[in-house]
């Protein structure tokens, strides 16, 4: 049985669906729900994402049936039909997608059938039940992708050997999603592949529509987008490989090797790309040789975040940066199998660092875990403290950072204390940005 959550770091399924849809090119999401759902979701998406704004059709522009008490008693399907009909007259899009909130599902409205009546007349309109109680934002992402893959992506017989699709980077839940998708596009481009990311820079709906031509689907996650990949495989016969989201040379090298093997790229080619990227990376990182060692910039670190970022950040800090990420708190709602899978990512570091992994959805517990890992000073004269310390988490971790006097960088959702545009943290280039951001905080008062 699920439990309450102290300051959840995600919205409901509808929230995830809206975050996903409003970041597809020229897409008009239609909400069949109470009046407040869309407005509330937008405030959370905008405020937690480093200020993504309303984009093409997000925020208060989202068409919404705004069902009220009367509709809840008599049913809201007629209102939805009216809303769709008028949306098609006013809102200029190439793809329309009906999402539902809790209330209309609970009273038994069949939004999918209503949408189908328009689809049968040739409108590019799709629908899915995304009521909030089905799960969190990641669930909403999964539901939308599954629907689009099954119904929007056209069946193709011929495959393009040099084309792959990549997802698993959840728009907004990964605040740096757009920059990160560009990183993956470039990296796999170096291996000789064209990559559809659906949500990234320069993408069009045609990339999504023709995604069935791809030779492989790469899910850059072990937890997000896997169900959608299974649906894609069933419907379009395209296999998938799930490779953990990487930050920094160690993780990205593994990513490239795994992707290379799945794509049957020669070892030589893979090694060449790795070598080139690493040379570029260390050309910059070597600049820190003096300051890192002159003033001792190694830190104990606590990481708080989702199951994509936490292992990637931990690996980067331990393996690439030579830090001590001793405590990692993963805030997703995960099954036992998923927990086991994610935990494996922290084993066998070449640095021999062994982080303590905690699965906990509750924000107030972050301080407790830190206190437990580094017990408070009970008046000892010689005391091994959580110092020098650094906290990588979300904006919520400002509380813990304040309590422990540690510098803090918001990297995981929600981020309300930074503006994020095209910044990326994935791969080699992303790790350079992350290094800049972390070390800037450490030298910031000099």
């Amino acid at each position: 049985m699920s439990k309450f959550i102290d300051r959840p770091r995600y919205l409901c399924a509808l929230g995830g669906a809206i975050a996903t849809l409003s970041n597809l090119p020229r897409t008009i999401p239609i909400i069949h729900a109470a009046a407040g759902c869309g407005g509330n979701i937008f405030a959370a998406l905008n405020g937690g994402s480093g200020y993504i704004g309303s984009g093409y059709c997000g925020g208060q522009a989202l068409p919404s049936s705004n069902v009220g008490e009367k509709d809840i008693v008599f049913g809201g399907e007629e209102r939805l039909e009216e809303e769709i009909e008028n949306t098609l007259k006013i809102m200029d899009g190439d793809l329309y997608f009906v999402t539902t909130g809790c209330m209309v599902e609970m009273i038994g409205d069949d939004a999918i059938s209503v949408a189908r009546r328009f689809k049968d007349k040739g409108t590019p309109i799709f629908a899915a039940d995304t009521g909030g109680f089905h799960g969190n934002s990641f669930k909403g992402y999964e539901i939308v992708l599954k629907t689009l893959f099954a119904e929007y992506v056209t069946k193709k017989t011929g495959k393009k050997a040099d084309t792959v699709n990549l997802w698993g980077i959840v728009p907004i839940q990964d605040v740096f999603w757009k920059g990160n998708l560009t990183v993956f596009k470039k990296l796999l481009g170096e291996l000789g592949f064209h990559v559809n990311t659906f949500f990234g820079e320069g993408e069009t709906l045609d990339n999504l529509k023709n995604a069935g031509e791809a030779t492989l689907n790469i899910v850059a996650s072990e937890t997000f987008g896997i169900e959608a990949a299974q649906v894609f495989q069933e419907v379009h016969g395209v296999p998938f490989v799930s490779i953990p989201f990487p930050i920094g040379p160690h993780g990205t090298e593994e990513f490239l090797r795994q992707a290379g093997v799945a794509l049957k790229v020669t070892d030589r080619k893979i090694e060449n790309v790795i070598k080139k990227e690493k040379t570029h990376y260390y050309d910059y990182i070597q600049r820190l040789a003096e300051i890192y060692n002159d003033i001792d910039l190694q830190r104990y670190a606590v990481i708080v975040g989702d199951s994509n970022y936490s292992p990637a950040l931990s690996q980067f800090l331990a393996e690439d940066m030579g830090w001590l990420p001793e405590l990692v708190i993963i805030t997703d709602i995960l099954s036992d199998e998923q927990k086991t899978l994610v935990s494996k990512r922290f084993a066998n570091y070449s640095s021999k660092v062994k982080p303590e992994i905690v699965f906990d959805t509750d924000t107030s517990n972050v301080k407790k875990h830190i206190n437990r890992h580094w017990p408070e000073n009970h008046g000892q004269r010689y005391y091994d403290a959580f110092s020098p310390a650094f906290i990588v988490g979300s904006a919520f971790e400002r509380d813990a950072a304040e309590k422990f006097g540690a510098p803090h960088l918001s990297v995981t959702y929600p981020i309300s204390n930074r503006v994020v545009l095209d910044r990326a943290y994935a791969g080699y280039s992303g790790a350079l940005s992350l290094t800049e951001d972390i070390f800037s905080l450490l030298v910031g008062n000099r």
Binding site: M1, S2, K3, F4, I5, D6, R7, P8, Y10, L11, C12, A13, L14, G15, I28, I31, A35, G36, C37, G39, N40, I41, F42, A43, A44, N46, G47, G48, S54, Y56, G59, Q60, A61, P63, S64, S65, N66, G68, E69, I72, E82, E83, T87, K89, I90, M91, G93, C102, M103, M106, G131, G132, F133, G135, N136, S364, A395, F396, R398, S416
Partner: protein, 505 residues
């Protein structure tokens, strides 16, 4: 109006209590006529865009209450907006009142597919016990969302059951979104909870050696104290300015409910007068406090702009029979302000302005701008009720000035703005971005960190507006480089084509 709603567990919604309307499009004159005919409530939109709900707005108020834990009883997304968006800022704003304030902590009961069938009362109970045990707040505030209301969770019964076990004051707020489209119903929902659960009669304490003089001092202090009902959209500097004015009348002031500590509410009856700054917010609270404690109240105007600020002060002065000193204060303040405004008046005269936001605030702010020599060409009001009937009739050129009623609805707004092309858009957060993408300079109609109220507010508004108009390039560049999601022909049509009903119904 009678105020005895607090006998019931749940408050009425504004549509029922005040006949508030949320849909209209036309001119100020047309709105006034339709309102008199009583046919506003039959209007509806056949195309609508998302807005907000009374739960969102309830949280905007409740999140400010210090030393409290908010429990959102609902599925994971509910309340995420107000909480995620404002957590950091709220902490800082709380600390302006109390440097040790802990900031915003909230819990979501995470109702899922099983709970929708079996009910969510157990989860709520566990959340309350957790909050009390682990976080030790002075109050635990439960906001109820649509789902538990539909499945029939009895949150008042849960509160009654756990209250003896927990240290914190537990307060349920019935603000289910689907019950009303008038977001301002939130104020009643929140005050309903405060009146029933937050305000507790303080224990009668008799000091052993309290002299008659000391007793009289307390009595005297109360007789010279006003409670001002603040709103979460105002700033600490607004409060400071209003406090300065009230202290200038030799009166004491307390601010409720925003940023108050839960225990402060127990002393809310230690005042001679309750003063509202906005009828949209407080009539429910003021009315009930009068019923309960016999404290008289003033609901007249919002102290924005010279005219309204003067009027607000005079109403208070009238009650305490100190009009003469109030007139002196007003004269001194007005003279100094007028002098300071001269350069801004010159720069702003003739500018055409469009305003959106709460019904009281837009008309008061319009008056401020008119006083600066600007011309008001249109309004969008979040809702409409009898509190603004008089204000509407005072609008200059009311036969031609455009007004619509609704929250958000940017499709109507872009259409109107495209036709009217104002020099400045004075907007409520939510649709400022879209005005920006049309290249219009935007002045936010409220701000939690800026001064709008009182005399200093007039100067600050003029100064900021003048600054914004000095270089509107950012928005102009946006308009040249972004696209709006509407078909081109929509801009040719009547902005209110999708409002149906009304007179013919």
């Amino acid at each position: 109006m009678e105020y005895d709603y607090i006998k019931e567990k749940t408050p009425p919604v504004r549509e029922d209590r005040l006949g508030s309307c949320g849909v209209f499009g036309g001119t100020c004159c047309g709105l006034s006529n339709q309102s008199q005919k009583g046919c506003l409530n039959t209007l509806k939109r056949t195309f609508s865009q998302t807005q907000g709900c009374q739960l969102n707005l309830s949280l905007a108020i409740l999140n400010t209450i210090r030393d409290s834990v908010i429990i959102v009883h609902g599925p994971l997304g509910c309340g995420g907006g107000s909480s995620i968006f404002s957590a950091g800022l709220t902490r800082n704003l709380q600390r302006m009142r109390d440097p040790g304030a802990s900031g915003l902590v909230w819990i979501n009961t995470n109702l899922d597919e099983t709970d929708v069938i079996k009910g969510g009362e157990q989860k709520l109970k566990e959340a309350i016990l957790y909050a009390d045990r682990e976080l030790r707040p002075s109050s635990i505030i439960i906001v109820n969302s649509c789902v538990p209301a539909l499945i029939g969770d009895d949150i008042d019964a849960i509160v009654a059951e756990v209250q003896p076990e927990v240290n914190a004051k537990v307060m349920p707020v019935h603000c289910e979104g689907f019950k009303t489209k008038i977001m301002a119903s939130a104020y009643d929902s929140v005050y309903h909870g405060i009146l029933r659960h937050m305000i507790r009669e303080p224990d009668e304490t008799t000091r052993v050696n309290e002299t008659d003089l000391e007793k009289m001092k307390v009595k005297y202090r109360i007789s010279r104290t006003v409670n001002v009902f603040n709103v979460s959209s105002m700033s600490r500097t607004d409060e400071t300015e209003l406090a300065r004015i009230i202290k200038g009348l030799d009166l004491n002031v307390n601010f409720f409910p925003c940023y108050a500590h839960p225990n402060d509410f127990d002393r809310i009856n230690e005042a001679a007068l309750n003063v509202s700054i906005c009828a949209t917010h407080d009539d429910y609270f003021s009315g009930h406090l009068k019923e309960k404690y016999g404290i008289p109240f003033i609901i007249d105007t919002i102290p924005i702009g010279i005219k309204n600020t003067n009027r607000w002060i005079l109403e208070i002065a009238k009650f305490f029979e100190i009009e003469e000193s109030a007139e002196k204060l007003i004269a001194t303040e007005t003279r100094a302000l007028e002098e300071a405004l001269v350069p801004y008046r010159q720069a702003l005269t003739g500018k055409r302005v469009f305003l959106t936001g709460g019904e009281i605030r837009i008309f008061a702010t319009a008056n401020l701008f008119e006083n600066l020599g600007m011309k008001v060409i249109g309004f969008k009001s979040y809702h409409y009720d009898h509190f603004v009937d008089g204000l509407l009739d005072n609008v200059t050129d009311k036969e031609n000035v455009s007004i619509s009623v609704g929250v958000g609805q940017p499709f109507e707004q872009v259409n109107v703005i495209n036709k009217l092309k104002p020099d400045i858009f004075v907007g409520h957060s939510g649709t400022n971005g879209v005005a920006a993408k049309q290249g219009i300079p935007v002045f936010p109609i409220f701000g939690q960190t800026a001064n709008y109220m009182g005399y200093s507010g007039v100067f600050e508004v003029a100064r900021r507006l003048n600054r914004i108009l000095k270089n509107p390039s950012f928005n102009r560049n946006l308009s040249e480089n972004t696209e709006l999601p509407y078909f081109k022909d929509w801009f040719e049509k009547d902005a209110f084509s999708y409002i149906a009903g009304g007179q013919d119904v």
